[in-house]
Symmetry: C2
Subunit: 132 residues, 2 copies
Amino acid sequence: MRELADVGATDAKGIAEMKVIMNDKYERQMKKGVLDMLVLRLLKSEAKYGYQIIQEMREKSEEIFLLKDGTLYPILYRLEDDGLVVSKWSEAVGKQVPRKYYEITREGKRTLDEIEDVWKRISDGVVRIMED
Amino acid sequence: MRELADVGATDAKGIAEMKVIMNDKYERQMKKGVLDMLVLRLLKSEAKYGYQIIQEMREKSEEIFLLKDGTLYPILYRLEDDGLVVSKWSEAVGKQVPRKYYEITREGKRTLDEIEDVWKRISDGVVRIMED
DNA sequence: ACAATGTACTTAGTAATACAAGGTATATTA
DNA sequence: TAATATACCTTGTATTACTAAGTACATTGT
């Protein structure tokens, strides 16, 4: 992380960069908790593998959710530990690189419904405070 | 606080409680990042003190954002460190307990606008993925 | 008179998680 | 043969909401 102290002369570029960093900080924090919901949502229709989830997330959100793989996989492992998804490796199809498919469980679907409610409550609350 | 380990037989009550804990977990994470925005928003119209912010947050959000004071004050200190708000103690008025008023700065207003944009982008992205 | 509750601010510690940055391995394209 | 894309894995860091404790004074109840 960049230090404020070593910016030297505070030029326009430095300020613009600082603003980007600040926005990144908030963007990062605002995503917390939502990503689990989005991953479960994408798995609701059919089992998918990691890279596929990343691409669909990017496309469906229209370039807003650009997940790194290092972000997604820990989420999938966590969901699996919690029993919300199960995984199985694809059997080798020709020279296809093996893929690990994740499938949502019944418990996962129920939890998804609940998390959706939480999201709605919170975003409603935000709207009420922000509007005036 | 009740421990999961001492629930004994996993009865309906135990499961219900687990679900509450899970939802709490997601609710907690989803709030990350938005609280700064909401606090700044409440300070936009006029300077306010801690307890006042907690109450307005509760009322305006219709009981959705129920902040503990131990949650709010660190947020205020952080905002002050970042130069987004400034504080000053109220001069003694009768036997009124002294209050520390927080006022949003010009920089704070600019940041608030930016954070609002981030929030809109993210919640739009969520809606796009969740609807189908 | 004393306890309980409410107001008002402070602080230390914990749990959770998005991301960066590294890694492995294979397939395709230039 | 070098680069790029696919596909998965792992460690470490920064941030932050919350719990739980504390201090201090005012008000209300019994």
